[in-house]
Symmetry: C2
Subunit: 123 residues, 2 copies
């Protein structure tokens, strides 16, 4: 998981999450992996990007949650030319289905075990 979330104190009080849930199709993994990695790298360069958490299970279902400072930043990223091309590829090749939800984070809390050192802190 690529994440800046645990123990990261630099985030604004108000921010947004984009919850992307998807079922991978049976198409080849190579182009998907390259595209997915590129999109994460590109997202990180966009204005308003805060972090991303992504997990895929053995059944091909994945959840990626990216975090952004504001909705304009999310809209700009959605319209980024290279991202638009990747979205089209996603619909044509990568996914049986996906769903995107934009949500405003209104509360959060965290826990870190005493037995874990150096990865973060409770809020």
């Amino acid at each position: 998981m690529q994440s800046k979330t645990s123990g990261d104190n630099g985030w604004p009080e108000h921010y947004y999450a984009v919850i992307f849930t998807a079922q991978r199709s049976l198409s080849g993994d190579d182009i998907y992996d390259i595209t997915a990695d590129r999109m994460v790298a590109l997202a990180q360069q966009q204005r308003g990007f805060l972090g991303v958490e992504s997990v895929r299970g053995d059944d091909g279902i994945g959840i990626t949650v990216s975090y952004w400072t504001d909705r304009d930043a999310i809209a700009e990223w959605r319209q980024h030319a290279e991202h638009l091309a990747a979205q089209a590829l996603g619909r044509q090749e990568f996914y049986d289905w996906y769903r995107v939800r934009i949500a405003e984070v209104v509360r959060e809390h965290a826990f870190v075990s005493d037995q874990v050192v150096g990865i973060g802190e409770t809020m």
Copy 2:
């Protein structure tokens, strides 16, 4: 993934997501699996529950997103006696760390491939 999301049209226009990201510890899987399954079954019985999506990767990092009609329902579920016991077990045994974010869904869209039949529809 246990989900009522794809193509489900019965959800309210406004609702909330609880984004739970966590790192599993090295503790035994049996009690964890029983507890996690029980919590999903119990959550589904609570007022305001809409659906849940959950994925865990090979590295033990998981994302579970549950969906609720309102924040009161989320607060009630958080305070449910059996859920409180499971949360304590989670901190003692199951997780190195976790983070919970409550977020208000403000926009969503979906895609379903033409090649997939019967699992849902685009919004």
